[in-house]
Symmetry: D2
Subunit: 116 residues, 4 copies
């Protein structure tokens, strides 16, 4: 497997992992920022992750009769950048036609500096 393929694989792992780790979390518009931050802090710890941005759609956080909501797959809007060697891949998790879709947006290689 080359660097590009591994970067793609790592992005898949992280998106699948975060989805299932946090789905079901009690959430509200007020608490959403703390969950976003906790997810970002957790994902950035993992190997090959360069950047991670998590936005949770407040518009879907309709209140149940006790005044809160639950984190669902359709709320996720996530972008992650993984890196293996000199290859970077950007992937996303976001709603598409009613499904929380994960996809690779692009990968590119940085040229190694001369002498490296």
């Amino acid at each position: 497997m080359n660097d590009r393929e591994q970067a793609v694989f790592e992005a898949g792992i992280k998106l699948g992992a975060l989805y299932h780790q946090w789905v079901g979390t009690p959430i509200s518009r007020d608490s959403a920022a703390s969950v976003e931050k906790a997810i970002e802090r957790a994902v950035i710890l993992q190997p090959f992750v360069e950047e991670i941005t998590v936005r949770l759609d407040r518009g879907l956080m309709t209140e149940n009769r006790f005044g809160y909501s639950e984190l669902s797959g359709m709320m996720y809007d996530v972008e992650i950048i993984t890196r293996v060697g000199f290859t970077y891949c950007r992937a996303q998790l976001s709603p598409e036609k009613g499904y929380p879709l994960m996809k690779i947006v692009e990968c590119h290689e940085i040229e190694a500096l001369p002498g490296h």
Copy 2:
């Protein structure tokens, strides 16, 4: 079921829920505070919760070969206060003899004010 019993029941629900929602989260000493806060913010949303304090044991966060750890049951040190009517119950989740034990610490009733 009287208020005291329901307050006890609600405390059990919340402790069982938070344990299984967050166990397995990638974590480190640096990110632990953000996870503690996210758990507290999530639990306080739920019905009958008056107070919640979450401490995660940094001492157990030994680094794997990629430099992070994973939230395990033995790391939890949680205290929750639930209230139903005029009855408050205090419960805990914390390690006891190698097991992450959940227990009720005490319940008490507040006297309703005259006129209520």
Copy 3:
């Protein structure tokens, strides 16, 4: 805390735990039975659980564009019986007015046999 209160507490723990452990699981009408069984087998292991029955509402398992669904809180129909000493409590998790409600149905004490 008396036996009845502890039985109530234990029922709450187990319902909160199972809800958050399995919510989000990919599921279909065909696979639902295997998830029900796995949940039952997991819950019965835990202390103070006498019986557990899990039914997942196939009617809510509408297919996404890839042909499957995801276990959501409203799908749960669970009944659990906990026992502490000679006291049994029966609790349920099931939809009520659009919310996956957990509640104690009844508790009762069995008389100890003479000589015990």
Copy 4:
């Protein structure tokens, strides 16, 4: 992204997802088979999955003082085959030097039959 890269991505998603969906499940040697089966049944539902085999290491299921254990990352021994177009990728999740490692084992393309 070509078929091979997408097959790699999809394998990553599924391994990351299953790890975090089930970690923390109460488990014992007796109940392990039901959890293995439920995981397999859940993963096979997801898009691009051709085959999935889940084995959970009974040797690590040491009993806590209540007689059961909890599914941990090191217990997983999983092999998955994803397919996109005519490309198949085989990936694994299994312990390696004290870490539950996910890796691609191999990918290969099947030649399309003449007339297809």
